[in-house]
C-alpha cells in the first residue's frame, strides 16, 4: 500500500467518524427534545430562574437573583468569588 493511500484512508476514516458523530449528535438532540421540554415546563412550574450548577455556596446558587451576596459566608478562606471558584479549592475541612 502506498503512503498516500494510507493517508487518504486515515483522512476519509476521520471524516466518516466526524460525520457519524455529528449525525448522532443531532439524533441525540432530537431524542432528548421531549425531556428538554419537560425540563422547561418544570422550570416554569417551579418558577426557577437559575441552573443548579454552582451549588457550593448560597451566593453562587442563583446568580441572577438579588441576595445577601457575600463570598465568604460558608468558606471564609475562599479566595475566589463570583460566581464560583474555578482555580482554588475550598479548605479541606469543608470538602467532603
Amino acid at each position: 500500500m502506498k503512503r498516500y493511500q494510507i493517508f487518504i484512508s486515515i483522512f476519509l476514516f476521520e471524516i466518516i467518524v466526524l460525520v457519524f458523530l455529528l449525525f448522532s449528535a443531532s439524533a441525540q438532540v432530537a431524542k432528548g427534545k421531549k425531556e428538554m421540554l419537560s425540563l422547561k415546563d418544570l422550570c416554569s412550574e417551579l418558577s426557577l430562574t437559575d441552573l443548579s450548577v454552582w451549588t457550593e455556596a448560597r451566593y453562587t446558587r442563583n446568580p441572577s437573583q438579588a441576595d445577601w451576596f457575600s463570598p465568604f459566608q460558608d468558606f471564609p478562606s475562599s479566595v475566589e468569588h463570583f460566581p464560583a471558584g474555578s482555580l482554588i479549592e475550598p479548605p479541606m475541612r469543608r470538602k467532603r
Partner: protein, 387 residues
C-alpha cells in the same frame, strides 16, 4: 490528479524523514485543537441547554430591596402589582437555602407550588393537596444523604428541632442541571423550617400577557413600588449568556500558554527555512520541478499534518466533552462543588465554530509551510550546482 497524488506521496516520505519532529508537531497540534474545541463544545452546549431550559422561567420577578439588600416581600404587594394593566397572575415564591452541615452542601428549599405535573423526570409520586411531612428531592441531595424513595430526610429547623420529611419523589439524574440540589416541601413545613414571617414571601413572579410589554411593566412596578427590584427573563438569559462566555474565555486564557507555544512553533517554521530545506528546494527545481510543483509539495506537507491533527483534535474533543462529560476541565468550568452535577451534556454542536477553528489552525499552519518556501522556489536553481 495523479500528479497531486504523487506529490502527496513524496510529501509524506519527506515528512517521515523527520518522524520525531513531525510526530511532536502532530501531537501538539492535536492537543491544542482538542483543548480549544472542547472548550467551545462545552460552553456552547452548556449555554444552549441553559438558555433552552430557562425559557421556562418567569417573565418577570419582583424582589424587595431593603438597604440595597434583598428582603422578604409583603404579600400586600401582590394586589398592587395585579392592578397594573397588562399583568396576569402574580404569585408569591417561597424559597430559601439550607446549609447542611452534615454533608457541607447547600440545598435549595422550595415550598411546593400548585400545578406541578407528573412527568418522566420525577420518580415516585406527587403529594396530594394539604398533605405535609413529605419532600421531593433532587438526585444530588439523594446521593449526598444516601436517600431512596420512602426514606426520611432529616433537617434541623430554625429552633433546632428535627424536621422529618418522607421522600415522595426524586428527580431523575438526567434533570440534574435544573434539579440537583432541590428540596421541595409543603408550605407548613417550609414555614416551620425557616420560621418564615406571616404575610411575606421570598419574592413574586409576575405573568405578563404581552411579551413586548415586559420592560414597560417592569418600569411601572419600579415606579409603583420604589423599594422593589424587577428582574426580567431576558436579563437572566443575557446574564447566563455572558457568564458562559466569560467562563469559556477564562478557560481559553488558561490554555493561552499552550496556544502561544503552538504559535511560536508555527512562527519558527514560517520564518526560518533551514539551509537543508533551501538546498532541497533547489535540487527539486534543478531536476525539473516547477515552482508550482514545489509549492504543491509544501502545501501537502503542511496540509497533511494540519488536517489530520485538526480532525483528530475535533473528534477527541467531541468524545471528551459528550462521552466523558469533559472530565479534564469540568471543575474549571463549573467550579468546585459539593453537589457536583455530573449530567451528560446534550451534544449541541455549532458547525460555524468548527469552521472558525479550522480557519485559525489549519489555514495558518499550511500557509506558514508554503510561504517561506516561496522565495526559495522562485530563485534560480544554479546554486545547487556548487553544493
Amino acid at each position: 490528479m495523479i500528479k497531486h497524488l504523487k506529490i502527496l506521496e513524496f510529501a509524506l516520505s519527506s515528512l517521515l524523514r523527520r518522524k520525531l519532529k513531525n510526530l511532536a508537531i502532530v501531537s501538539v497540534f492535536t492537543t491544542v485543537t482538542m483543548v480549544i474545541a472542547s472548550i467551545l463544545f462545552l460552553t456552547h452546549s452548556f449555554k444552549k441547554e441553559a438558555l433552552l431550559i430557562l425559557q421556562g422561567s418567569p417573565e418577570l420577578i419582583v424582589q424587595r430591596i431593603q438597604a440595597g439588600r434583598h428582603a422578604l416581600i409583603p404579600l400586600s404587594y401582590v394586589d398592587a402589582i395585579k392592578g397594573l394593566p397588562g399583568v396576569g397572575d402574580v404569585r408569591p415564591r417561597y424559597w430559601g437555602y439550607y446549609y447542611d452541615p452534615l454533608t457541607g452542601a447547600n440545598f435549595t428549599v422550595i415550598a411546593y407550588p400548585e400545578g406541578i405535573r407528573k412527568t418522566e423526570i420525577i420518580e415516585g409520586s406527587l403529594p396530594g393537596a394539604n398533605e405535609h411531612g413529605y419532600c421531593l428531592i433532587g438526585s444530588g441531595v439523594a446521593d449526598a444523604r444516601f436517600l431512596q424513595i420512602g426514606d426520611e430526610l432529616f433537617l434541623q429547623d430554625i429552633k433546632g428541632r428535627v424536621l422529618s420529611l418522607k421522600v415522595r419523589g426524586i428527580f431523575k439524574k438526567s434533570s440534574q442541571i435544573l434539579t440537583n440540589d432541590l428540596v421541595i416541601i409543603s408550605r407548613p413545613d417550609f414555614d416551620r423550617l425557616f420560621g418564615f414571617p406571616e404575610g411575606h414571601a421570598t419574592d413574586l413572579t409576575v405573568q405578563v400577557y404581552n411579551p413586548t410589554e415586559i420592560q414597560n411593566i417592569a418600569g411601572k412596578v419600579k415606579k409603583l413600588l420604589p423599594d422593589t427590584r424587577p428582574i426580567t427573563r431576558s436579563e437572566i438569559l443575557r446574564t447566563y449568556d455572558s457568564l458562559f462566555n466569560w467562563r469559556g474565555g477564562m478557560l481559553l486564557a488558561l490554555f493561552a500558554s499552550s496556544v502561544l507555544a503552538f504559535v511560536i512553533l508555527a512562527w519558527d517554521k514560517a520564518t526560518g527555512l533551514s539551509a537543508e530545506e533551501r538546498q532541497e528546494i533547489g535540487i527539486l527545481k534543478a531536476i525539473g520541478w516547477e515552482t508550482s510543483d514545489v509549492l504543491t509539495l509544501k502545501f501537502w506537507e503542511g496540509a497533511s499534518i494540519s488536517l489530520i491533527s485538526f480532525l483528530t483534535g475535533i473528534i477527541l474533543a467531541y468524545i471528551h466533552v459528550f462521552y466523558f462529560s469533559a472530565v479534564l476541565f469540568e471543575p474549571a468550568l463549573k467550579g468546585w462543588s459539593v453537589l457536583f452535577p455530573d449530567f451528560r451534556l446534550r451534544p449541541y454542536v455549532d458547525l460555524y465554530q468548527c469552521f472558525v477553528l479550522f480557519m485559525v489552525t489549519v489555514v495558518p499552519y499550511t500557509a506558514s509551510t508554503i510561504i517561506p518556501s516561496w522565495k526559495a522556489a522562485i530563485t534560480d536553481p544554479d546554486s545547487v550546482m556548487r553544493g
